[in-house]
């Protein structure tokens, strides 16, 4: 079993800057562009980071950095970067962080000036209707919060490095029939995954196992003890196609997370929910409240579109959709419930390989 956490030796300032961007899933090219250095220099820094942290890959370094973050150590930095698809909410500045100036005693004249200016500004504000604008602030606030939630969903993949769990997915037919599947998953970003689909009430029907070891993918046939193999395409790791923030979302094109495009199981849509924040102008979102699922805080968001509606319980930490109920043309279409979820835990690399007794089918 390979454990993915290692002890750390100090990184240079530049290496920390590179690592800061790297853990947000940004390509070497974009890191180079942002820091104003060449791509080769970025590669050198990354090699040095690997050596100093004892990791062997990009994904491992993300796990390592997330572990540091959890421990509350100095990495990753709180400072944000204004780069598409890695924007994060900036922490509010605390009072003690503002610069403190030496106070001078105030004279009577000094106190009159701000008073007059204040009265004049107040009158101006009433004339321009600013108080009425402020009265409307609850809805403005709600829409700000919705934007914040949708931004989290759009960047969900940058909020976790490893994830494992289980979800139950029930499909509803038009004549009252249902089909229920259990989806088990272990994912190690960016490109390793184990996904198993089990039919809850009809064992063996429409089931499957899909594995990606970071280089190849394997479609496993458990009954025949065989598998087919394919090479992971470049697009699977190209996050540049994803909209970085809501302003980049297009009306007519929806980009799923590129790695999720490869996963042939419905659970991918809820682990990688970037599609939920995208769509055409007829889509309307509303925040219904908050809830706790699997011991995790969630936002309940309703989405209405031309032919139906859906309600999603969005994990406030990872942005994943932990529960999802969709109706189409007034009828229930699907219900998804995560029954277990762990994130940023160590992962055994063994799970991403096909058992030796299975044979390759060409």
């Amino acid at each position: 079993m390979t454990q993915l956490f290692h002890e750390r030796t100090p990184l240079s300032k530049r290496e920390k800057e590179v690592l800061d961007l790297l853990i947000q899933g940004i390509s070497n090219k974009q890191i180079a562009f942002h820091l104003g250095i060449s791509e080769k220099t970025v590669e050198k820094h990354i090699t040095s980071i690997y050596q100093k942290t004892g990791v062997r890959s990009r994904a491992e370094v993300v796990v390592w950095a997330m572990a540091r973050k959890k421990e509350g150590r100095d990495f990753p930095h709180a400072e944000d970067r204004d780069i598409p698809h890695c924007k994060r909410q900036r922490a509010p500045l605390k009072w003690h962080q503002t610069s403190v100036k030496r106070r001078m005693p105030m004279t009577r004249k000094d106190s009159l000036v701000p008073l007059i200016v204040g009265v004049l500004l107040g009158l101006l504000a009433i004339r321009t209707g600013i108080p009425f604008m402020l009265m409307e602030s609850p809805s403005a606030k709600a829409s700000d919060q919705m934007n914040e939630i949708l931004s989290l969903v759009l960047n969900s993949h940058s909020r976790w490095a490893t994830a494992q769990g289980e979800a139950e997915i029930v499909w509803y037919g038009s004549n009252g029939q249902t089909q229920t599947y259990i989806n088990k998953f272990v994912i190690y970003q960016p490109l390793s995954a184990y996904i198993e689909v089990i039919n809850k009430f009809r064992p063996g029907f429409n089931e499957g196992v899909w594995i990606s070891d970071g280089h190849n993918t394997y479609n496993v046939d458990k009954e025949r003890k065989s598998y087919t193999q394919g090479k992971i395409p470049r697009f699977a790791n190209d996050l540049s196609v994803l909209p970085g923030d809501l302003s980049q979302v297009k009306d007519d094109v929806v980009y799923n997370h590129p790695f999720s495009l490869l996963i042939p199981a419905p659970v991918k849509d809820y682990i990688y929910p970037e599609w939920f924040a995208q769509g055409n102008p007829s889509t309307a979102y509303s925040l219904l409240g908050e809830d706790s699922l699997l011991g995790r805080k969630t936002w309940i968001v309703n989405l209405k579109h031309k032919t139906g509606q859906a309600t999603a319980w969005i994990d406030q930490t990872t942005g994943m959709i932990l529960k999802y109920v969709q109706e189409e043309n007034g009828q229930k279409y699907v219900e998804v419930n995560f029954t277990h979820l762990e994130v940023d835990m160590p992962v055994s690399a063994d799970i991403f390989s096909v058992a030796p007794e299975y044979h390759l089918v060409r």
């Binding site: 037919g173 429409n206 196609v241 929806v254 799923n256 199981a265």
Partner: protein, 172 residues
């Protein structure tokens, strides 16, 4: 006076040519839009399958045709070179998971790049779904396929899988 008019005319002609050339260069990369009209659908999981529209009787529609070996597979073939990014349209009537399979070929070198992408046509309706891009450029031509075979974990049997418009680009 005559000279300056001539100069102006020549300048205008050159400017128009430059604009035209730029537009052509931009358009050369697409996106190219291919519309299968009217919209067709196949019922999920049954084989042999036939599509709903009369223009597709006999296995040959406007652009797509039924595979002779695997009747559950419908192919949409192009002869344009350097097909790069792929998109498919999700109609408002979408209800099932569709198994799209795109391929690009390099004739003569025996290189084939292909990937299967599952798109749930019941979500994000009325939008284009991105299906990824080819690792190999230049390539000789590309092909998009659609199968009504069940996808593990999704509803299996009876729902319609739609074959709607697709589009692609030819440049990175």
């Amino acid at each position: 006076m005559k000279t300056s008019i001539t100069r102006m005319v020549v300048s205008l002609v050159i400017a128009s040519l430059v604009v035209f050339a730029n537009v052509m260069i931009v358009r050369a990369g697409g996106p190219y839009h291919v519309s299968e009209n009217p919209l067709s659908w196949i019922l999920g999981s049954g084989a042999p399958t036939s599509v709903s529209t009369s223009s597709c009787y006999g296995g040959a529609c406007k652009y797509m045709y039924q595979d002779t070996v695997d009747p559950a597979l419908w192919r949409w073939k192009y002869t344009r070179a350097n097909v790069y990014k792929w998109y498919v349209y999700r109609p408002y009537t979408g209800e099932a998971a569709a198994r799209y399979w795109w391929l690009t070929y390099q004739s003569g070198r025996g290189i084939r790049d292909d990937w299967i992408v599952i798109v749930n046509q019941a979500t994000n309706k009325g939008t284009w779904a991105y299906l990824g891009y080819s690792d190999y450029l230049p390539n000789s031509y590309g092909e998009l396929r659609l199968s009504n075979q069940c996808v593990p974990g999704y509803w299996c049997g009876g729902l319609r899988v739609y074959w709607d418009d697709m589009r692609y680009t030819t440049n990175p």
